[in-house]
Amino acid sequence: MKVMGALLVIAAGGMAGWVYSTLLKKRWTMLQALIQAFQWLETEIGYASVPLGEAFMGIGARAPEEVKLILTTFAAALDGPAGLTADEAWQQSLAQNREALPLKVEDWALLADFGRTLGATDREHQVTAIRRTLERLKHQAAGAEEDYRKNERLYRYLGIAGGALVVLIFY
């Protein structure tokens, strides 16, 4: 019985470590998906001059699930009856999806910054803002990848080790 319990505790520790390392991976893939979406956005706005609502709906349809949520919530808020500006709709979409997505505080800050001038300036400036956001996203993504690669195993072992420690203390 005791042995069974000990094994369970160790397994739970291992699980926790695994979940945490998966979160690191998810953040990295989400940042990559965001980079892809912003590259599409640059084309839509810079070359085709497509209005924001249409552009975000279009990109949302092609983007992976987690990014789709931010983009389509934004496009829907933009078309809503409340008469929101693009910035307001964008911040609203970020706030609504914050809980569900594995991004860090600095990633959210970067996305929030992007909304400030969204749709409110000429095309040239919009493209500059998108490119700046892209640069920052790439930087974050590189950091996220490093984080993940360096710490993936560490967290898994740490989880198991933590479980083992608990067993040792209470056995």
Partner: protein, 328 residues
Amino acid sequence: MSFEEQVFPFITPKLRRALENLRRAVPDQWGKLEEIRLRAGCPLQVEMGQSMLVTPAGEPTTEPGFALRVTAEDVHRTLQLIGGNSLYTLEEELKEGFITLAGGHRVGLAGECLVEGGRLIRLKRVTSLNLRIARELKGIGRVLLPLLTRAGRPLRTIIISPPQAGKTTLLRDLIRSFSNGEELPAPVKVGLVDERGEVAGSFRGVPQLDVGVRTDVLTGCPKREGVFLLLRSMGPQMIATDEIGRPGDLDLIEEILNTGVGFITTAHAWDTKDFALRPSLRRLWARGLVERVVVLSRRLGPGTLEGVWDGRTREPIFSQVQRLEVRR
């Protein structure tokens, strides 16, 4: 779809509420609404037969102190809504100074300009918006049709009037009548060069107002290029253009005359005397290049017909002052 449904979603909620209340408060006058004007720092103003200010509760007033004040933020927000929150898609419109909405309503813009080398690049900060309600009055020109045709062909016609006397509304209806073949033995293929997008009220290239079933519309195209494009490609029997009056427009009309197709257009002038004196127009009058001159005014309200002149003899052929109305 009523114009309120087409225009109100673009107006910022605060102003929208006041206007909705105004509509309920004075339904009769509301029916005459021509313009809604937003100016940063000034009272909300509407033109409903007469110029009125609007209180926050939606009552008409003449006292600026009681009126709802429009802020720079209201103007900015309204412009954002009109542009689908994508001002970068409006670069051409910010250069031209107006935006056409679905339904043919037009939004005039003014504010601070960006200029390079003496040329206007675009408006960089918009502080005044003028929402002009497009009114389609089908059949308003019917009474004129017998005067503007001869032997089954439309005569070369110019409509002159001061601003807001219904030039464009009448032009649109005459184009529609000719194109549909009303009061004519055979309908006429019309080529319309709608440089300012006001006649057909095109939205994304599709006319929102009825200009007839045999009318090809070229929106936003400079007159000269537009006229020749249509003559080359669409084989019109009649060319219609919006307001003329710029240098070069007269040469264009002479060239249209040489091709033998009919034309109808409008110009800004108070009456035939003013018309005969305008440097950019007088050649039309002096040389009898047009066959009919229709004069409108606001004397009995918008769309008052002052008379019709024969452009050749320069004599009036119809001088009964009357309000043009839709007769069913």
